[in-house]
């Protein structure tokens, strides 16, 4: 299968991985790019469908978002919230320093 237009490069994979904070070994970049191009090529078939004049579908059900009243009905569960944190102190999550 030929690469679709704007094919994903190893460099793109590296960038996406970085944005997602995923660690990818250098020797995995090209194979991942090949896999992604395979998927994109397959999806490319959808371009064969004529969608002239068809409204883009924004959800599977034709209804508006259900809404809730502005009432306080949650919170007050700090211990539960912090339970999985690798490190916590005085009610805060503690993480590696995020600024210089």
């Amino acid at each position: 299968m030929s690469d679709p237009v704007g094919a994903v490069s190893a460099e793109d994979v590296k960038k996406i991985a970085r944005l997602s904070r995923l660690h990818v070994e250098a020797d995995r970049l090209q194979p991942l790019a090949d896999d992604l191009n395979g998927i994109l090529g397959w999806i490319e078939q959808l371009n064969e469908v004529d969608v002239e004049g068809v409204e883009p579908m924004t959800s599977a059900v034709d209804m508006s978002a259900p809404m809730r009243k502005d009432e306080i009905s949650d919170g007050g569960k700090r211990d539960e919230i912090l339970k999985n944190a690798p490190k916590k102190d005085d009610g805060f999550f503690v993480v590696p320093r995020s600024v210089e």
Partner: protein, 497 residues
């Protein structure tokens, strides 16, 4: 992309080595919706609570949790849009804005990208120069208003090598109001934010508290040769006072000019304003530049509003600051300056109206802007916490109007009232400050003053200026309580002037 057709006033140009430069400014204002609970969860939005005590599993980004829209927040966005004379979009949608940061446990912010709830609008802004003079009005276009989630709070000073994270603010509803790049001076930019603040406060959709960060601005600045091609812009994040907005723009514009005139180029980047040093600095380097990869949030259905709902919100809109100001100028005959000061926010306009109704409107304005604001300023307090209420100030003005006290004694009564001495009537009664209007009593004091100063009395015929001396003597004798007009009249008669 943006165009910037309006060419600013030459008065606002910055002189560089290569000639004049014009500043182009656009703002993104984040206004926190004044709701009880968050945009997509039922946890509280209250400020200043114990860390992580107002966090639901939705806010914490736990897997499998589903967001549900808060209808009140939707209504506030519509109301604000109407207040900005903007297009309300009956169809809008939530998108995911993806980025990775410690205060965003979901890994994405739910925002509105392609289909915001509010489209284009415009407001009129009155910039004020450094001397407090009002300049010509400027129309600032609104590009859009959309709803989005706030992030949590990172605290960097509790540990030298760690960051502490509190997610209480995470998921609180924000209205991001994006302007068109229509401003050309720091004064126009701060006047725009001031105007927005007045509108959201009048509408009650946001409390406008900049100190708490409930209203904050991202400022986009670039420079160009007047009317020329647009330069590269830099975005200064989270500026939280009118003064800082002006300082940040001034600094940033001069930085751009310096770099360009030295032959360099501006990197499009995100910068921080350091309010202590009064300068901006790079916040993110280019390698970290964001690529948000927006896509429709599959957890949320599109937001569809009925026109009847929008009509109802519109019908119930309260009077907006511009309308109140116009009414004050028409009904109370106030100058533009007085009307502007007295309608700066709802507390002021409500207070003024309560004092002015049924009284002399100009005197009410003078007392409020002079004596009351002066005393509040000196006591470092706000009108909200004023020890003198509108009723109390009104009561004082009534006693001047019915001549119970003179304007001069009223100042004394006001001071005592401000110190908690009770109502004007209480103070006048307790201190015996009631004006002496009894002509017999005044005549007696006048006779005594003339008798005690016979020499001056004789000279007064030649030198009418001595009348002032006698008025002073009589007023002193009456401890300021004699009616000044009566004193003047009787003195003139007795001195033969």
């Amino acid at each position: 992309m943006f165009t910037a057709e309006r060419v600013g006033d030459p008065r606002d140009y910055i002189k560089g080595e290569s000639g004049d430069w014009e500043i182009i400014i656009g703002l993104e204002v984040h206004a926190q919706v004044a709701s009880n609970s968050k945009l997509f969860s039922g946890s509280s939005t209250e400020y200043g609570s114990e860390p992580n005590s107002q966090v639901s599993l939705v806010d914490a980004g736990m897997p499998g949790m589903l967001p549900v829209v808060n209808e009140f927040c939707v209504e506030q966005a519509v109301k604000t849009g109407l207040g900005l004379n903007a297009q309300i979009n009956l169809f809008s949608r939530f998108d995911r804005k993806n980025y990775f940061y410690v205060d965003l446990p979901q890994g994405y912010q739910i925002s509105q990208f392609e289909h915001p709830i509010v489209g284009e609008g415009e407001i009129e802004v009155l910039p004020i120069d450094a001397d407090g003079n009002t300049l010509e009005p400027v129309t600032v276009g609104i590009e859009r208003l959309h709803l989005e989630q706030d992030a949590g709070k990172s605290v960097h000073d509790l540990s030298p090598d760690e960051t502490y994270v509190d997610l209480n603010r995470c998921g609180v509803a924000l209205m991001e109001i994006v302007s068109k790049p229509d401003m050309r001076s720091p004064e126009e930019a701060s006047a725009y934010v001031d105007k927005l603040r007045g509108i959201v406060r009048a509408l009650g959709t946001c409390d406008g508290d900049m100190e708490k960060g409930n209203l904050r601005a991202d400022v986009n600045v670039s420079v160009r040769k007047p009317g020329g091609e647009l330069g590269t812009r830099c975005e200064i994040k989270n500026v939280n006072s009118m003064r800082f907005i002006r300082q940040a723009i001034n600094y940033e514009a001069r930085r751009h000019i310096e770099i360009i005139e030295a032959g360099g180029t501006i990197d499009q980047e995100t910068r921080l304003f350091d309010s202590v040093k009064g300068e901006t600095r790079t916040m993110r380097s280019k390698e970290d530049a964001h690529d948000y990869r927006y896509f429709p949030d599959p957890d949320l259905l599109p937001l569809k509003l009925e026109q009847s709902f929008v009509d109802k919100v519109k019908a119930d809109l309260p009077e907006l600051p511009d309308a109140i100001k116009a009414r004050f100028m028409a009904d109370y005959n106030l100058s533009e300056y007085d009307a502007r000061i007295l309608t700066a926010d709802k507390t002021k306009s409500d207070f003024y109206e309560a004092v002015a109704k049924g009284r002399d409107a100009k005197i009410a304005a003078n007392w409020m802007m002079g004596d009351l604001f002066g005393a509040l300023n000196k006591a470092s307090t706000d009108l909200e916490d004023s020890p003198v209420t509108a009723d109390m100030l009104g009561g004082l003005l009534d006693r001047i109007a019915d001549k119970t006290i003179s304007g001069k004694i009223a100042k004394t009564v006001f001071e005592k009232m401000f110190e908690g001495g009770g109502t004007a009537d209480d103070i006048i009664e307790k201190e015996g400050l009631k004006q002496v209007t009894d002509t017999g009593a005044i005549e007696a004091m006048v006779d005594k003053a003339i008798a005690d100063n016979a020499g001056q009395a004789a000279a007064a015929k030649e030198n009418p200026k001595l009348l002032g001396f006698f008025v002073g003597q009589v007023m002193k004798a009456s401890q300021g309580k004699a009616n000044p007009q009566a004193v003047n009249e009787i003195l003139r008669k007795k001195l033969g002037l």
